[in-house]
Symmetry: C2
């Protein structure tokens, strides 16, 4: 079962992303925008979680299960815990297939976060 | 006094950024890379801090003092505390001029973070 519906940033169509917020350099964020964006940044603000996110993002086919990414020096339950946090923040989607849950990076969310960090040229 | 020297990501020249890490989608991050990058993401992982960062980043001339950005609903000491955290994470530089400390976003660090979040097309 896909949990794509929990992602707040997505248009149904793949490319037509409506990011939560303008570039940070464009104008001061509103409180609501900051809440949404801070949740995503916070999810990446832990070294183990960031390594796991990178492991999923760079894995063959753009997806990975816990069984694929157990080499970051923490236990499998800890890996699962961090992946759940990333999913809750909207950075990963998950899908159960047989025994394993497969995680996939949501490219449009990544792009929206990247856009936040672009320097305005206006 | 500038504290630009504490920034770990900068080449002396403005444009020649050596970002800490490759795009997250390129390969799994090493533990050291994840430590560095997670520190920056964590600094942006708080809504108030993110609003302040955005307020500085979007302020006229690309810099602001505490006196300029007191409208996020927290006390001035709290603002100062958060700005210090952002400075310690290498996201802002500061310079005292007279009574006030002025904060400025480090564009190359912002660019390096943005690059982390780009989706690899290789």
């Amino acid at each position: 079962m896909s949990n794509a519906k929990v992602l707040p940033l997505l248009e149904p169509a793949g490319q037509a992303v409506v990011p939560c917020c303008p570039p940070l350099t464009e104008r001061p964020m509103t409180a609501d925008e900051a809440e949404t964006a801070a949740r995503m940044f916070k999810a990446l603000g832990d070294p183990v979680r960031l390594r796991l996110f990178s492991a999923v993002a760079s894995h063959e086919g753009g997806e990975a299960c816990v069984c694929d990414i157990s080499d970051v020096g923490v236990s499998q339950p800890t890996v699962s815990h961090h992946l759940k946090k990333l999913r809750e923040a909207g950075l990963l989607t998950s899908e159960r297939r047989g025994t394993w849950v497969y995680y996939r990076v949501e490219p449009s969310v990544l792009a929206a976060m990247g856009k936040l960090l672009t320097t305005a040229t206006s």
